[in-house]
């Protein structure tokens, strides 16, 4: 640590734009703070090791023992502190979970977010697959719950990131589960919000059983768009884009100078904002109602991580540029599951945090 006298000297020098002190003056100020060169040089070169540092073997040994002791002690106390903090948060979480419960009522959820100054337009959630046997079922149920809460809170877009991409392979089943969950929240299909479920390179899924789009007698005009993301939409997408661009460049269709940030942005955003058209036949039919669709916001406003620490875990990098991130913290104190469980209070805390509000006890 630099003593206050020396730092005052250096500050004065900075203010005069480095004119006041000469190079040797500064060096003489610095010299006492520099570590012994011998202390550092043992690392890069192994040969020099023996000759230089064996001057004070006992002192070095004692020093390292003291450091080891301090290290152990610090970690002991730190561990205790962390455990206490975890317990405190776990208790707090339970209380919140009791106070704020959705009771499967969209009105209640809307009331919880009513006073917030701002809501994200695009919410993104990182979920992780657990290791139990029914992991997929649990995951799908979590997704369905999240969709229901998001729709109830009035957030139009929800993207779900799950690393392995397992969800993408069972979209029809997922659609069914979400619809069932929505009906347990909203009641009959006419009162449910319209669900658009898709993944990059996939079209919007529509169940086959009959025309389930009663647009005339639909009393709920909300739409919730659910986007499924996986690790392949991250770096792999850039690899694919680069491959295509390289091929084009090799064929002389484009020069590398044409690759601008706008182009990359347009291409990368395309994937997550525009579901691919189902088929050529139905695309004509589809265009009529897809015209009315507002283009999706490709950059999420809020990213919720249900887990003990904030790790993006392969989340598509391009879009998180300005995304606010919120980690619900370690609420799985029992140490058996990977990743925290998805709870309504965590979801709500994220929204409150996003709006810059504090959570209160009592509604």
């Amino acid at each position: 640590m630099v003593s206050s006298r020396d730092s005052a000297l250096l500050r004065k020098d900075t203010r005069s734009r480095g004119q006041k002190l000469s190079a040797s003056d500064r060096e003489s100020i610095l010299r006492p703070y520099l570590p012994e060169p011998s202390e550092l040089q043992r690392r890069p070169l192994g040969r020099r090791k023996k000759s230089t540092i064996r001057k004070t073997p006992i002192r070095t040994f004692l020093k390292s023992q003291v450091h080891l002791l301090v290290y152990t002690l610090i970690h002991l106390f730190f561990g205790i502190a962390v455990r206490l903090l975890q317990t405190y948060h776990a208790v707090l979480d339970r209380i919140f979970a009791l106070v704020y419960y959705h009771h499967r009522t969209p009105e209640l959820i809307r009331k919880d977010v009513k006073n917030l100054d701002r809501l994200p337009e695009h919410l993104s959630v990182i979920l992780s697959l657990r290791k139990e046997e029914d992991a997929l079922a649990v995951l799908m149920d979590e997704v369905a719950e999240l969709v229901a809460w998001t729709a109830s809170a009035g957030i139009p877009v929800l993207s779900i990131y799950e690393k392995t991409g397992l969800l993408k392979s069972c979209i029809p089943l997922l659609h069914e589960i979400i619809t069932a969950k929505l009906s347990s929240y909203y009641g009959s299909p006419t009162q449910q919000p319209t669900l658009r479920l898709f993944a990059p390179h996939h079209s919007i899924y529509q169940p086959e059983e009959g025309p389930s789009k009663p647009s005339a007698d639909k009393s709920n005009n909300d739409t919730v768009t659910v986007l499924l993301l996986s690790a392949t939409d991250g770096r792999e997408t850039f690899v694919d884009l680069t491959k295509t661009l390289a091929e084009m460049s090799q064929n002389g269709k484009l020069s590398p100078e044409d690759i601008t940030m706008e182009l990359v942005d347009a291409e990368i955003s395309e994937i997550t904002t525009h579901p691919s058209e189902p088929t050529i036949r139905s695309s004509i039919h589809d265009r009529e109602d897809s015209d009315s669709d507002v283009p999706l916001k490709s950059e999420p406003d809020l990213l919720l991580v249900f887990g003990p620490l904030l790790k993006l875990d392969g989340y598509p990098p391009w879009h998180v540029r300005l995304t606010e991130m919120f980690c619900t913290g370690d609420n799985s104190n029992n140490m058996n599951g990977s990743g925290g469980s998805v709870e309504y209070q965590g979801f709500l805390r994220g929204l409150w945090h996003f709006a810059g509000a504090q959570m209160r006890f009592g509604r």
């Binding site: 610095l30 996939h202 690899v239 491959k243 484009l254 990359v264 291409e267």
Partner: protein, 391 residues
């Protein structure tokens, strides 16, 4: 009000008195030495946020705030390098920051120039301690005199190797990624030699004509144009292999191949093993390296941070909880992101210590039982660290 001011003064006086100062610096040394005993992150990134707000709340000029921020940086760098961190990356200036007031931009540039020039005067010390300075970003946006200082400092330290300080100077991550894509494309567009054979069909999740359209329009294209361009894109990609679905295909088919698509894309990490490495265009034309050999590693090796170890820890101060276009590519996998509610000029070992301890705790836990939470693909960086330590 006045009592608190007096108390504050007293506190400052007390802390600045020589014996206390000595004791604190001893304690710091002890703590840093203690941290060194455990696993230490090899690469830490800092977003130095809060200088302006610090200046505003303390009633000093913005420029002064930046100066204090520089002092905080010096403190933290000392802690990092002494405790064994190899690479520190700092976000000094974003490309977006050029939009700030000219006065502030000029002051920041001046500060950078002065500091870098001063550093260059102490070349001998830097050589002795093996510190290496690199400036990442769009150097072409800098003023000539600043650029000269940057080049001088970078050149002088380029042969040192132990500790690295990456200064992201006019930098945004999107710009970096775009640059990596561009450089990769440029590299793959250099012909190898001229032999001929027809181009093999390849997986193109991005339609070429679409990209061409985007270049022309640089904006959201309308649906009508989209279907027009579809025709030639489908005819082009009709020879596609089974491993990749075309972007526009029958829905049900895409669903079926959904899983195989994702697995095939994730598994092709290494370079293709055999003759498909070389791609040739039409007969008698030039021969190019096959774009199919582009992997995530290819792109990573074209980033500014190509020879740095993976980012272990990213710390942002001032309580703003977003990345603001910093290290997007580097930090979106295994990096632990920490947002601290402290302004950068106040940031010191005492705020940094809990973060480091938490990291050490998790890493040592992970090492004890590698199957536990959060550890997905056996952290390779830890094993390397082990060998580091045993040396």
């Amino acid at each position: 009000m006045s009592t608190s001011m007096h108390l504050n003064r007293l506190r400052k006086w007390f802390l600045a008195s020589p014996p206390i100062e000595f004791a604190i610096s001893r304690i710091r040394e002890l703590l840093v030495g203690a941290i060194k005993q455990g696993p230490v992150p090899r690469h830490i990134a800092f977003v130095m946020d809060g200088n302006r707000r610090f200046a505003r709340t303390h009633g000093i000029e913005t420029v002064e705030g930046h100066n204090l921020g520089f002092e905080a940086l010096a403190r933290i760098l000392e802690v990092c390098y002494r405790s064994g961190v190899k690479v520190v990356t700092i976000y000094a200036f974003s490309i977006e920051n050029f939009k700030r007031s000219k006065f502030e931009v000029d002051a920041l540039m001046e500060m950078a120039r002065v500091k870098l020039a001063q550093m260059a005067q102490h070349g001998e010390i830097l050589d002795r301690y093996g510190a290496k300075v690199r400036v990442l970003g769009r150097l072409d946006l800098l003023r000539p005199d600043v650029l000269a200082a940057v080049n001088q400092a970078v050149d002088m330290t380029s042969n040192n190797g132990d500790c690295v300080l990456n200064i992201c100077f006019p930098y945004t991550s999107r710009d970096e990624i775009t640059g990596a894509v561009r450089d990769t494309v440029a590299e793959y567009s250099k012909p190898l030699r001229s032999i001929g054979s027809p181009p093999p069909g390849s997986r193109t999740p991005f339609s070429e004509s679409h990209i061409a359209l985007n270049i022309r329009a640089q904006s959201q294209n309308t649906k009508g144009e989209d279907t027009n361009s579809d025709l030639d894109s489908t005819s082009e990609s009709s020879t596609q292999g089974e491993d990749g679905p075309a972007p526009r295909r029958d829905t049900s088919k895409v669903y079926e191949s959904g899983s195989s698509f994702s697995s095939s894309t994730t598994l092709h990490l290494g370079a293709n093993p055999d003759g498909s490495n070389m791609k040739t265009v039409a007969a008698g034309k030039l021969m190019y390296p096959s774009p199919e050999t582009i992997t995530r590693q290819t792109l990573t090796s074209h980033l500014f941070t190509k020879d740095c170890p993976p980012l272990d820890l990213l710390i942002r101060t001032s309580g703003v909880e977003r990345l603001s276009d910093f290290m997007l590519w580097q930090c979106h996998e295994e990096t632990e992101i920490v947002f601290l509610d402290v302004l950068w000029p106040e940031f010191d070992l005492w705020h940094f210590l809990p973060v480091l301890l938490g990291w050490q705790r998790r890493v040592s836990n992970m090492r004890k039982n590698p199957d536990a939470e959060g550890n997905f693909d056996g952290t390779p960086e830890i094993s390397e660290e082990d060998t580091d330590k045993s040396r």
